[in-house]
């Protein structure tokens, strides 16, 4: 004969009471604010988009490599309905004489580099974009250190990442249409974000006009020519 009591001794109300007590004991206040949860949700969605894009790109790369490796005797791969056609390289024009930047058919007013602090290139490729870049004071204290908003950079012939353009603060409005920027292009206040959004990574930028200098200053004197280490 078993010592175990009959199984039906647990009444429904007793079980309810014990479970509710357990749940009350296990209840803990929310560890974060609801806003944090909402932010996490936004990040999660962005992460999924990036993952999806990466997967599509990787698949496209595999298809491209496979088709190249198979050679001309292999049958051509079936056309893919999901892979987007490669977008053409974007062309951007910076005219330092007219003080205009043209991208995707839209034109924006700019301030050009000071003749003593030219960009030093006539064609560059956009290598990075940063909402903010912080410049350190230079050795001789010339120019305004600190943030450069909506910054677009390129890699120069010395393999240094440098500012190509950024948004001028409202106090620098007089620099628009003039040649006062110390080594980069300043986009008119309130237009910086539009230009930043319009210019794509890898865009080909032609720089025409201006930049005539017989005595260019050193990099250290031209504060906007200092190497950019990254955003923030």
């Amino acid at each position: 004969m078993s010592d175990r009591p009959p199984a039906h001794t647990l009444a429904g109300t007793d079980l309810c009471d014990r479970l509710h007590a357990l749940a009350v004991h296990g209840a803990v206040p929310a560890p974060t604010a609801g806003a944090q949860v909402r932010i996490r949700a936004v990040r999660r969605r962005r992460g999924r988009r990036v993952l999806l894009s990466t997967t599509v790109l990787a698949a496209a790369a595999v298809v491209t490599l496979a088709s190249g490796a198979l050679g001309p005797s292999a049958p051509p791969p079936p056309p893919s309905s999901t892979a987007a056609p490669p977008s053409p390289v974007q062309d951007v024009l910076i005219d330092l004489d007219t003080h205009r930047l043209t991208v995707d058919g839209r034109s924006f007013r700019i301030g050009a580099p000071d003749p003593h602090c030219p960009i030093g290139e006539q064609a560059v490729t956009v290598s990075a974009k940063y909402p903010v870049v912080n410049l350190v004071p230079n050795e001789i204290g010339v120019g305004r250190p600190g943030p450069r908003n909506w910054a677009v950079t390129f890699t120069d012939q010395d393999h240094q990442q440098r500012l190509l353009l950024f948004e001028l603060p409202p106090s620098d409005l007089p620099s628009v249409g003039a040649d006062h920027i110390l080594g980069a292009v300043g986009v008119a206040p309130a237009s910086g974000k539009q230009v930043y959004d319009a210019v794509r990574l890898g865009a080909r930028v032609r720089i025409e006009g201006g930049q005539r200098s017989e005595k260019p200053l050193s990099h250290s004197a031209c504060i906007d020519r200092q190497p950019v280490k990254g955003g923030g």
Binding site: L15, L19, V24, A33, R44
Partner: protein, 168 residues
């Protein structure tokens, strides 16, 4: 649901849901993780989930429970190999009664534990449980009866032979 409404809803419902998931999973840390994740997903799909004509708390509980089960299934094989029989991670200073109840719940088959908790803790009717778990009402009734019977046996056993954790 606006952002402010969501924040209030989150603050109010989170503790309650963690308590329910604790009973469903027997793992307090896991309960907090999955409830938090469920809220993230709810906000991500707020257009369909957090609307006036749905019960968001039930949706959250279901999602959190599925998350817990999914994780548990992934880890189960490894866990059994390493630990033999898993011990529940308990909230700080649980009473012997809570330890015994959690241990007994964890010994129930998942389907029976779900039915027991949804019915006796979340106050869902047999028909509501059937709808939520995608089973027939008769199956739910059978799971409830078997679960209660097994639980009674386990609890009696635990009370007569308390676990090491309960004695600490």
């Amino acid at each position: 649901m606006t952002e402010d409404e969501f924040d209030v809803f989150y603050t109010a419902a989170y503790p309650r849901l963690v308590g329910q998931l604790y009973a469903l999973t027997g793992d307090h840390a896991e309960a907090q993780d999955v409830v938090q994740e469920a809220f993230v997903r709810a906000w991500d799909r707020r257009a369909s989930v957090l609307t006036g004509d749905r019960a968001p708390e039930a949706w959250l509980r279901t999602v959190a429970h599925r998350l817990a089960m999914s994780r548990w299934r992934r880890a189960r094989h490894w866990w059994e190999l390493v630990r033999g029989e898993s011990a529940p991670r308990l909230v700080p200073e649980p009473s012997p009664d809570h330890v015994a109840l959690v241990a007994a719940l964890r010994r129930l088959p998942e389907t029976q534990r779900t039915a027991i908790v949804l019915h006796h803790l979340c106050d869902l009717s047999v028909e509501q449980i059937a709808a939520e778990t995608g089973t027939a009402s008769g199956t739910v009734k059978a799971r409830l009866a078997r679960g209660r019977s097994a639980l009674a046996g386990y609890l009696t056993s635990e009370e007569n032979h308390p676990t090491e954790e309960a004695r600490v």
